[in-house]
């Protein structure tokens, strides 16, 4: 309940915008006309749901409304839009993490994404969450590329009271990960979080580096990382679909983290990624505080955006 409320608070700006606009759109109209549908399209597209998917949803809404006798209530149209959005998640919300893996020790989470998406901040928050659950947490600073990346991560590890492996001598991200896995095994850590350098998915040599990192981890563990999280900026437009396609080629992505949702961006791109690739969203980032990482819940997410109070 508290998470739900807090999420709703965080997303209230977004919600109020959308709700007011939808209200304007449909109030005082006897039936749903093409103009109304067009305005719903605007709302969906403005949330980065994308042209193709927005129109697919609109089409479904239109069809459903044709069979609905009472078209006067805005609540009915809301419900239909909501249920269409929800359907996308329902069809795809199979977890990619097997139960046995959940017991694995150390539970290894690899965090990847483009530059500036919020990987390092997310790791700090994840470390804090696991610490709060009473886990012994280790962080590997495998972003050996960006200036001061390990210093930034070190500050987060202090805030979360987690331990960190920083290699003074190695610039090879795989070597840092390897060292961290050994330490995690030896000192019986519950969770190991591996940070990586931000990379644009178009740079093949950097994507190759990620493949190598994944291979080294897999070899060392005798299994793939238990989770590979792709961090996406909530401000992302349609390119996020391409990003998730390309990053999927380097590792089996088990979940998405959508960051920066405390602004006015809607993060609607996740619907397309869900529909296309069946990658579930695990967390959303709603601020710069260490507590600002929320588990993703489809229903609450959609409600927080679309629902009337």
């Amino acid at each position: 309940m508290s998470i739900f409320n807090s999420l709703r608070d965080r997303l209230s700006k977004t919600r109020n915008n959308l709700v007011n606009r939808i209200k304007e759109t449909i109030s005082g109209k006897a039936s749903i006309d093409s103009n109304t549908l067009e305005q719903i399209e605007e709302i969906l597209i403005s949330s980065d749901v994308g042209y193709y998917l927005s129109n697919k949803i609109i089409e479904n809404v239109r069809t459903k409304m044709l069979n609905t006798k009472d078209r006067t209530s805005d609540k009915i149209i809301f419900d239909v839009v909501k249920s269409e959005l929800k359907k996308i998640f329902d069809n795809n919300s199979t977890s990619r993490v097997s139960e046995s893996n959940n017991q694995a020790k150390p539970y290894i989470i690899l965090v990847i994404g483009v530059n500036g998406a919020g990987k390092t901040t997310t790791i700090g928050k994840l470390a804090y969450n696991y610490k709060e659950q009473g886990k012994k947490v280790l962080i590997a600073a495998s972003d050996t590329f960006r200036a001061a990346a390990s210093e930034q991560l070190e500050i987060w590890s202090e805030r979360a009271k987690a331990d960190i492996v920083i290699s003074e001598k190695s610039v090879d991200p795989s070597a840092v990960a390897y060292e961290a896995i050994e330490k995690a095994h030896k000192e019986k850590y519950d969770v190991l979080l591996i940070d990586t350098a931000g990379r644009l998915h178009t740079k093949s040599y950097l994507m190759d580096e990620l493949v190598k990192l994944n291979r080294i981890i897999t070899k060392k563990l005798n299994r793939a990382p238990d989770e590979t999280l792709l961090v996406l900026d909530g401000n992302s437009g349609q390119n996020a679909v391409v990003q998730s396609d390309e990053f999927s080629k380097t590792a089996l992505i088990t979940g998405l983290v959508i960051t920066k949702l405390d602004g006015t961006a809607k993060g609607g791109i996740v619907f397309q990624i869900f529909e296309k690739q069946k990658i579930p969203v695990k967390y959303i980032g709603v601020g710069e505080d260490i507590t600002d990482l929320q588990p993703f819940n489809a229903e609450e997410f959609i409600s927080a955006i679309v629902d009337i109070n």
Binding site: K13, E42, I45, S46, S47, D48, G50, Y51, V114, N115, G116, A117, G118, F145, R146, A147, A148, A149, E151, Q152, E154, I155, W156, L200, H201, T202, K203, D233, N235, S236, G237, Q238, N239, A240, V242, Q243, K260, D262, G263, T264, A265, K266, I269, E288
Partner: protein, 441 residues
């Protein structure tokens, strides 16, 4: 996906050619496709709508030339308008001739401010500016350290303070710059959300204190629909001078740039790609326009249309020759076109249908200069109707062009011979060998 797109466009364009004028009807399919393309490129919903409406209003009623379809014409018009909007009031950043030039860098988290700040410092240093980087991002962990490390790489000092007040850091940095003879100060600020009142107030205070020579808004090229909201509010608070577009080395289409450009009307001043500190690029509106419209489909189409436009010019010329209306105005246009292409020899290729026959023609490239000068000294009427050129007029032209009356006479004689030949061409079809021995001199 692109193939699908290309197919749709093709079918939208497979309308009857040469439909007279552009009408709502004959361009509606194309406009719908273009709208979709813009939305897929992350152009804001409203911006895309207004943009297409504007272009449509301007375009309706325009004459459609014979060899293209209304769809092609409207696509070309949209492309041109896109280039125009993206490139309008292009400008460099301002640099003060004397005193300190201050540059304030603003933007959302993760947009690329710190990397850009270092790149800009490097660029200005290469231009002999004594630059100081200021680490005013006291929010993000190790942001100061990051700037220091970048500064070290490019050998530019970084000002920082153990301080929880960004404004104080900035105030001290300006003093420091004054005392140490720096003439350029680049202030890297914390990333902030436009809805974060405290943080927006902070950067506003910095701006009001520094009164920067230049305030830049850094935006990630991968940004979606919300770009307009953040840009609008940053602009309301800071009235920034220009936009920096980052991460264009990915494959995002960058439609957000068009949205921001349309909403705030500020120029795009830099493209910041990659993490190497010398990767700061000049902005080319044509490239971004092509990118927004997508590779492989619309662009090849636009190119095709552009080729067609040249053909249309040629068609017009041919028509004039056929009707025996080729005058000095047309001649001047041809000369100018040739000069653009480089040499007189290429005139040969420009005259429609004459290419192979005049291959052996001897041409003197300098002759063009005199010829052009003579034509330039004619009035419009004289160019249109060379017959009215009597002795007095010829004398005036010779004086005006710095040539002799003999030279003017020679050109007129050649021109009338040329006209004669042209009319023969048009009667016999473009077949005869008459131009072979013609000499331009």
């Amino acid at each position: 996906m692109f193939e699908d797109l290309a197919l749709k466009l093709e079918s939208a364009l497979k309308k009857v050619r040469g439909q007279g004028k552009l009408t709502e009807n004959n361009i509606s399919d194309t406009l719908r496709e273009i709208r979709r393309i813009l939305l897929d490129a992350d152009v804001n919903f409203k911006v895309a709508k207004d943009f297409i409406e504007d272009v449509k209003t301007k375009a309706l009623g325009k004459e459609v030339l014979s060899s293209i379809t209304p769809g092609q014409l409207i696509t070309k018009i949209i492309y041109d308008e896109l280039v125009h909007v993206l490139g309008g009031n292009q400008s460099e950043i301002k640099i003060n001739g004397s005193g300190i030039t201050t540059i304030l860098i603003s933007g959302l988290q993760g947009s690329g401010k710190t990397t850009f700040s270092a790149k800009l410092a490097k660029k200005l240093k290469d231009n002999q500016r004594r630059s100081l980087l200021v680490a005013a991002d006291i929010q993000r962990p190790a942001a100061v350290k990051q700037l220091q490390m970048l500064g070290e790489q490019i050998n530019i000092p970084v000002f920082s303070l153990e301080e929880k007040d960004a404004l104080k850091v900035v105030k001290n940095s300006i003093e420091h710059a004054n005392e140490n003879n720096f003439n350029t100060v680049i202030i890297d600020t914390a990333g902030r959300l436009h809805v974060d009142e405290d943080m927006m107030a902070e950067i506003e205070h910095i701006k009001n204190y520094v009164l920067p020579t230049e305030t830049l808004f850094v935006v990630d090229a991968m940004t979606g629909q919300d770009a307009v909201n953040s840009a609008r509010i940053f602009n309301e608070r800071l009235n920034f001078d220009g936009i920096v577009l980052t991460k264009l080395d990915g494959d995002a289409r960058g439609g957000a740039a068009l949205s921001i450009r349309s909403i705030v009307g500020k120029p795009i001043k830099f493209i910041s790609n990659g993490e190497k500190l010398n990767q700061l690029e000049t902005f080319y509106p044509e490239r971004l326009a092509s990118r927004i419209l997508g590779k492989g489909d619309v662009i090849s189409l636009v190119e095709k249309v552009q080729e067609n436009f040249e053909e249309i010019e040629a068609d017009r010329l041919e028509e004039k020759i056929r009707k025996n209306e080729f005058d000095f105005e047309d001649f001047l246009k041809q000369i100018k076109a040739i000069k653009k292409m480089g040499s007189l020899s290429s005139l040969v290729g420009m005259l429609p249908g004459l290419g192979s026959q005049v291959k052996n023609m001897k041409v003197d490239d300098n002759a063009l200069v005199k010829t052009e000068a003579i034509i330039n000294s004619m009035t419009y009427q004289e160019r249109k109707k060379p017959k009215i050129l009597n002795g007095n007029r010829r004398m005036r032209i010779a004086r005006g062009s710095g040539t002799s009356i003999q030279e003017v006479n020679r050109l007129l004689k050649q021109f009338s011979e040329m006209q004669k030949m042209m009319s023969q061409f048009s009667k016999k079809g473009f077949g005869g060998p008459m131009l072979k021995n013609y000499k331009f001199n």
